[in-house]
Amino acid sequence: MFDLDRWLEIFQTINKNKLRTLLAGFTVTLGILIFTVLFGMGNGLKNTFYTFFQDDAQNTIFIYPGFATKPFKGFKENRRIEFKNEDLALLEEKFGDRIEFTTARISKGTTVKYKSEYGNYTVRAVHPEHQYLEKTIIDRGRFINENDIEKDTRVATIGRLVEKDLFGNENAVGKYFTLNKIVYRVVGVFSDEGGDREERNIYTPVSTTQLIYKNTDKIDQINLSYDMAIGANGARRLSRDIKKVLKDKHNIAPSDRNGIYVESVIEDLEQNLQLANVLQIIVFWIGLGTLFAGVIGISNIMVYIVKERTKELGIRKALGAKPSTVIGMILQETMVITMIFGYIGLLIGNFVLNSMGNKLEDWFITNPNVSQGTIIFATVILILSGLIAGYIPARRAARVKPIVALRDE
């Protein structure tokens, strides 16, 4: 199907009529540019959501106590609910068959000191299984273990950046430092894909912390992960069951929404991705609409061009151009213009996205880009656009009567 003469013919007309070609192509460039940038930003938004949840294992459920806002069984409203070790034990007992890992967590802002260096960090008192729930990666040494819990040892596993801040180039493992003036020994250093903030945390055994702080058995929250085998629906049921058991235990009205909070990573992720998808669909249609406006623009200009070239088309027909030849010529010309200017738009759009990079991270847009699939899709759209844009003008061109076109006026 490749016809060099046809191409030469088209490039000659385009070349000889640069301004009008430019005008015709501009709208398409703009359309594709907006399409690419918007779509890429939509992807960036999705990327951000993914990183939010990369931090934790996807089958994690977080359970927090809140305030009971309704009176129930003789208990007054506005009661503060607190978790204790027994709550964790209760969940393990009741749901042991569906649960994988469990941990309590007590978080406290703490002044941390090593020699003359000090800073404020969050210390999380946890159980050993917290490591799997938080996807903590041990770089050196070890995480808190069962032995630490049993013996209330004063040990800590510190984040990579805590080591960097306080210990400089020294290896922190085995060194002693103080948490709120109480001496602990560093047993390990970890990193975390959740980002810098996560790597500025310090983990200590939950029992040690409970002992030091007024010898209580209170805990801030419970994290657990369910057995993946129960599936998404099983996870939802588990969340409901946990809520029910805990409400029962703490005498909270079943209809009270604020007594106990149960958050499931997978549900949150699903919700957020749904939001991102809806946004992207909206963005997609806006982009497509813009592109369509471009197509209408190019079609309009081509109709005008055909009108302007009526005489030329008449001459061509008088000299033996078949209607199909004329249709092919105009259609191909429109498609070439659409494709060339569309790709310019695509290139500029990609360039804009690339140069954006991670500068928009504060606005929740991470690494905005368009995938290869999208580019192929855009190409198909461009070819189709060219066909649509060229159809009406080409048909008009084919209808040009040489006798009318050549009439001397």
């Binding site: 003469d5 000659q12 000889k16 005489k311 001459i315 008088a318 000299l319 033996g320 209607p323 040489p402």
Partner: protein, 233 residues
Amino acid sequence: MIQIDELHKSYRMGSNSLHVLKGINLDIKEGEFVSIMGSSGSGKSTLLNIIGMLDEAEKGSYVLDGVPIKNLSEKKAAVYRNKFLGFIFQSFNLINYKNAMENVALPLYYQGLSRKLRKEKALYYLEKVGLADWAHHLPSELSGGQKQRVAIARALASEPKVLLADEPTGALDTQTSYEVMEFLQGINDEGKTILVVTHEHDIADMTKRIVKLKDGKIVEDKFVEQVRASQYV
């Protein structure tokens, strides 16, 4: 070469129709040089358009080189025009963004000739009209007479059976007109059938046969002693 019998044509103008050709009979042999004369509105251009397959007759028959021309599809008409006819227009009708050679090569492109052959032929015919040196000039860089000569070269390039010229000298001064006629006479001398529509007597006198049209009918059809244009050039 051309046989026309009882040809009728009328145009609808709103509610009333205008009967332009009222039964034309014309027989033109190969190698003839015919001028069709008449005042405006006599139907001479309509007749030429029908002969040129740019327009279709309502009634009557038209046979070109043994091929009956009737109910042609647009595609077929295009092929026949390309194969049988060469057109020369009053306003030259060159494509303004193509140079002389490309203009001459255009009908050859529609014949499906290779690029090399098209170029060769185009240059040959430009040479023939004495414009080989102007092959790469755009029409805007040529004088009126040169433009018409390019148009003649273009009409000849497809090697048609019949050359149709609609007021070929209408946009030219007398001197240039005679030069163009000299070319046409030369081509006719080589045996090409030529049909010229004109309203100028001196131009008509340079052909070999004058057909006079009035109100859609042939009122006079006579062979004349050809005046050679070379004596005025």
